[in-house]
Structures are given as structure tokens and as C-alpha cells.
Amino acid sequence: MKRFSCDELVELVTAFLENDLDESTRSRFEEHLVGCEGCEHYLSQFRTTVDALGTLRVETPGAPRHEGLPGDEGLSRATRDRLMSAFRDRRTA
């Protein structure tokens, strides 16, 4: 069976992490990893990247702000007031 080269393996990392590889591809992926320090590091960098992205979650009250990113300020006071009053009015509509 053909062995992966590193440039092929890097394209399968998300499929590997999602558990979407078929059995034979998965075992070739894992065999390659065992013998390849470079790909092992790459996989670890990829995992760190995914974990770091998770720390950007904005929905938790008091979560770190996204300086300069759209949405960082949340809804404007005017929009929020408008929505609250639309919600209130729905009962009487």
C-alpha cells in the first residue's frame, strides 16, 4: 500500500480530527505519524490552533473582547431598546 508523503498528510488533518477517514486511510495516517516528527508537530500545531480559536468565543458573559472585530461592541443601545419593545408588543399584537 502506498505510503503518504507529508504534503498529502497535511491535507487530511481535519478529516482525521473529525474522525471522517475510512479505516484504511486512517491507519495509513497513523502509521505515517508514528515515524514522522514533522507531521507530529504539524498535527500538534493544528490542534493548538483549534483550541486557540475556541478561546475567542464571545457568547460567555464577561468573555474577552475582540478588539477591533465587528460585533465587539454588541448591539447598539437603540437597537436593543427597539427589540425589547418589539418583544413586549408581541403580546398585545
Binding site: D7, V13, T55, G74, R80, L83, M84
Partner: protein, 218 residues
Amino acid sequence: MESFTGGRLPPDDVVVAALRAGDEAMFATLLDTWSRGMLWLARSHVSTNDSAEEVVQDTWLAVIKGIDGFEGRSSVKTWIYRILVNTARKRGVRENRTVPWSSVFEQERPTVDRSSFQGVDDPLPGHWKYLPAIWPTPAPEGELLAAEVRVRIGAALAELPPRQRTVITLRDVEGCTSEEVCEILDISAANQRVLLHRARAAVREQLEDYFETARRSA
């Protein structure tokens, strides 16, 4: 799913019952918990922050109108995000900003720079020329990621093509499952994976650049 609902909101059936009963505190909580993420996502599709705010406003108005008819076939948040994405897309089309979502496959270009690998004349073509570095261990649990790293990731996300940014935001930032993302965006599992992989690889590259610069200046 715990992470997707934020971990602080009550279960969906409680949320829905409260909204139907006109519980203003519950509505305010949802507004304040989800609107920032929604604004960010809407901004991928439209051309200004004001436009994104209108998309989010229209989404909440549709939620107010539709809550009595909500059938619970998906989670409340998936339902709201579907409305958001559809509203944002329509608006993006009006603003001539939208890439057709049907052409979902990005260009088939490698996600790692070819110069990182050995060429045909090297001893092991396709294998690493330079080993990827070991990155510094992430900050201990509970400690915030270095502000600089977050800024760097934010910039990397901002540079992504809209479809990739939407998928990676929903999956890795918001914590949706792949099934939820497929449902919200109406794309296949394979498309979702391709977009996610390209986006993650692009963010990884930016972080590599950051860590490399940090290492050199240390």
C-alpha cells in the same frame, strides 16, 4: 450541546416556554448572550457594521414573530442562526457582496506552502524540508490566551474568504457541531470539511508566523 448553548442558558424547552410567555428577562438574556457572535457572523456577508446590525435586528424580529411556531426540530440557537444566515445572505446579494454558496469548493490549492516540502530532486520528495516547530505550551487552563495571539487570530479570520470564515467561526469559535453547521448553512458534510480545513490551515499559518517572529526576537 452544552458548549453551543453557552453553558449558562437553561434548556431549550425552558427558553421557548419563557419566550412564549413573554418573559422579558429571558429575551434580554438571549439578546445579550448571542448578539455579539451574530454581529460578527453577519459582518461576513454584508459590507458595513451598520448593515450587520440591521441583519441581526431583523433576525431577532423574525424570532419574536416565529417563536410560537417554532417546532423544536433543531436547537433554538441553530434555528436563530439559520434565520441570521438567510437574512444576511439576502442582504449580501442586494449589496452585491455575496459569493454564490453553490460554488462551495474553494480552489484546489495546497493548504501548506509548497516550499515547506522537499522537491522532486530532493532525497524525499513531498516530505518536510523544514520540520514544523514545537510551539510554546498553551497557557494553563483558565488563563487567557495572550492578547497578541488573539489579535493575530482575529486578523487571520478577517482575511478569510466569507464562506471559510463563516464555517470556522461557527465550528471552532462558537462551538457548533459539524451537523449544526451543515444545517445552518445548508451545505454538505464534505463541503463543510473542506471549508473548515482550509480556514484552519490559514489560521495555523498566521500563528506559525507569529511564533516564528516571537522566537527570533526572543
